[in-house]
Point group: C2
Chain length 454, copies 2
């Protein structure tokens, strides 16, 4: 007899294994003598290392320490210089690359020091190129890179940027709007880092923590073109009624941009990207594919809904409960034993004062929805968890929802609906033994949902 919870945990573990940064890099990047090969989903890209006099490495992001160790193992002493900024260096050790730590998600002075160091490295690369010495720069980019490597545009402070961001958030600005403004307040984001390294050869190896793998969003797209303009950034702030409330230095900075005193971020087609390439090492889909293999192995029929599920966690949960009930009743969308997989990044609109994260909230909402459907007798497990091991400000990666938990909760005089109303999913699942704790996984490719019906 299959145990749904055990199987769900094993399937999640396999999904994680599939996206360990070091392994992903080793899978994609190989070296044979002077040839460096990068396999990607459309084929292979290769470089002649001997064509370069200098090889530099610059890494930023939560998984970039691990990526650096693997890259060093491949390139060894061909790496001349470089450094990597990450949230926690942990046990990662490099011989040639300097590993530094900075703050995430809120950048600090170490983030700015890292930003300045990146520009110093860029100045070195430009100087070499100017001296006719071809220079290759390998970038190791992963989620969180935007906070860890940070440098406001000249004349602006971290506070100026943070203040503007906060106003935008409170105004309900969409992520695209946030990015357009932020890229115009930065000395690094929105392709400016690529610009700084031009004309060196730039190869970005990216672990995607962003749905859809939009390169201009991951770590705020420092090495890819930015389509947004000074006009866009200004217009967004005006439309949101924030133009008068933003810090005066930010307003002046944008006005100078509009007047043409300051150059815009590099646009698609700009020459600074002539020798710049980006490759995705891993993403949510890869985790889902690993999960699918494991589910099939365990005898489940399997459906991958999407790798980019977004929306309010408690609402999206109802799609899973609706599928669960219809699988039981009609064998739709799949006949049992069945596994439905999805990935992405949902959101939680905070209404209560409890503890939790979007994954735990989704698991709790799933239970409430099952109860509304009078379907608590179903044999199933639902797991929603973050691949980074940290769901919201908690020590859990996510939570298992088992229908039996509702009865157990009521026997303890706990009402699931009350916990959901208070956004207190952590306390709920802690009481019921439903938390999944993996500790920091060293990777981050958004979240994974597993609905398992033996």
């Amino acid at each position: 007899m299959r145990d749904a919870r055990e199987d769900a945990e094993a399937i999640f573990a396999k999904a994680l294994e599939g996206v360990i940064p070091g392994r992903l890099l080793e899978r994609s990047v190989t070296r044979e003598g002077r040839e460096l090969r990068i396999s990607h989903d459309r084929g292979q890209f290769s470089l002649d290392l001997d064509a370069y006099r200098h090889v530099l490495v610059l890494g930023f992001g939560k998984a970039s320490g691990e990526l650096a160790v693997s890259l060093e193992a491949i390139l060894g002493d061909r790496i001349e210089d470089g450094f990597v900024v990450t949230k926690a260096v942990g046990r990662n050790r490099c011989k040639r690359l300097r590993l530094a730590e900075a703050s995430h998600p809120v950048p600090d002075s170490r983030s700015m020091a890292a930003g300045r160091e990146a520009l110093a490295l860029a100045a070195q690369a430009r100087a070499w190129e100017a001296a006719g010495e071809p220079t290759l720069v390998l970038m190791l980019i992963s989620g969180g890179g935007s906070a860890l490597l940070c440098l406001p545009a000249e004349g602006l402070s971290l506070d100026d940027k943070a203040g503007t961001t906060k106003l935008l958030l409170a105004s309900g600005a969409r992520i695209g709007e946030m990015n357009a403004v932020r890229k115009h307040l930065s000395g690094i984001k929105g392709g400016r880092l690529a610009e700084a390294f031009y004309p060196a050869t730039l190869v970005s190896l990216v672990l995607s923590d962003v749905m859809g793998d939009d390169l201009d969003t991951i770590a705020s797209g420092p090495t890819v073109p930015d389509s947004s303009t000074w006009e866009d950034a200004t217009e967004i702030l005006r439309r949101r009624g924030l133009w008068e409330s933003i810090p005066v230095r930010v307003r002046r900075h944008l006005e100078e941009g509009l007047q043409g005193t300051k150059p815009d971020t590099p646009k698609p087609g700009s020459r600074v990207f002539e020798k710049a390439w980006s490759f995705i090492l891993g993403n949510n889909l890869l985790a889902l594919k690993q999960a699918r293999s494991e589910a099939l192995e365990r005898g489940y029929s399997c459906l991958v809904l999407s790798s980019r599920l977004e929306g309010e966690a408690r609402e999206i949960a109802r799609v899973f409960s609706a599928m669960a009930v219809d699988m039981e009743r009609y064998g739709l969308p799949l006949a049992r034993p069945a596994c439905i997989l999805a990935g992405g990044e949902t959101t939680v609109t905070l209404r209560g004062k409890g503890r939790g994260g979007r994954n735990q909230e989704m698991a709790l909402a799933f239970l409430c929805a099952l109860e509304d459907c009078k379907a608590l007798d179903l044999n199933l497990a639902f797991l929603s968890a973050g691949t980074d091991g940290a769901d919201g400000p908690t020590d859990a990666a996510g939570a298992f929802a088992l229908p039996s938990m509702v009865g157990q909760a009521r026997a303890m005089s706990l009402d699931p609906a009350n916990f959901l109303a208070d956004n207190d999913s952590y306390t709920f699942f802690a009481s019921l033994g439903g938390l999944l704790k993996t500790g920091p996984t060293g990777t981050n490719v958004c979240d994974v949902q597993i609905l398992l019906m033996p």
Copy 2:
């Protein structure tokens, strides 16, 4: 070259054809001489008409006029008496059955007159049974029956019930809570109608407008057991802080129930259900199956997600956009040409002042989500529509969402996100030619969503 919108419209039309009330009844109910057969999803049920001296028919609900016409065609003059109350008699004509109209969704005096007439019919049936004359009562039940056939418990007025319902709604009570209270204020709902007809034989033929086909929810379950008690009803009102605000007669009525002065609604296992059977003639799943056949016929691979999708329309929309993008990119969950089907009943939390319905809102939110994903270049059509032909307080059944509409809207200086924020999906789609208008369809099995990617 397939036209996605055309195909979606044709698939929806087929879904509707599959749930036309008259046809559903003729498919399920057949007569051979003295034998009346009812086919259902677990087999067949048959009755010997000659065992009954009297055959009565009682119908209530929006589709019950059509059901009555079909039933009369089958039973002819074996029907001795009966009547049917519906929202619009339209072109339905019966020889033996009286067809009446009443108000929906808010009951009126005609609804109460119908309720009294039903109880008079019940008194006749009881009298015959008491005289040793076996009586068969065929009930034709469909959505809206709860408003169309209505009788407050003795001593209560329509206003008492309506006032209590309004308070519950405003307090955020869940549908199960609403029903528990309402059934205890009614002389018909929650099995009381079956009780009134006891010991006659009762066969309910039900067109389900409710997700999951819960018989105790459809038309408020007048012919099936009610598990909720006087205590439940009272406790719900107290917990919601409404006990002091409800009309004084309602409070007194419930107190009398608690004290045992008034009998509770008939519970599961009660003898009044000994000779009572219910059969579902049609439901959302049936519509989806018809849609699937048509989609397969047109060369699409097809996935039926669920027949009971619920949740906030604008959030659920994002699940469809997420699947659309991943189908284009990765062939997940299906390879193109693909059709994803779902059904159910979502909700809209009104924030703005515009016009629309849950289906049109979902279609609009789908477009906004596609735009957020920068996926407006996809070749697809998304249709969300109500099978009754009326989405919210509009003359449209729902709306088609085509990615090209976003560009067209912007060219007309219309911002889809603004229309969504104002719950003004009707105006948006009216401007873009995206409305689906079927007129009243005469059936009602919730909504259908069709995502089509040629």
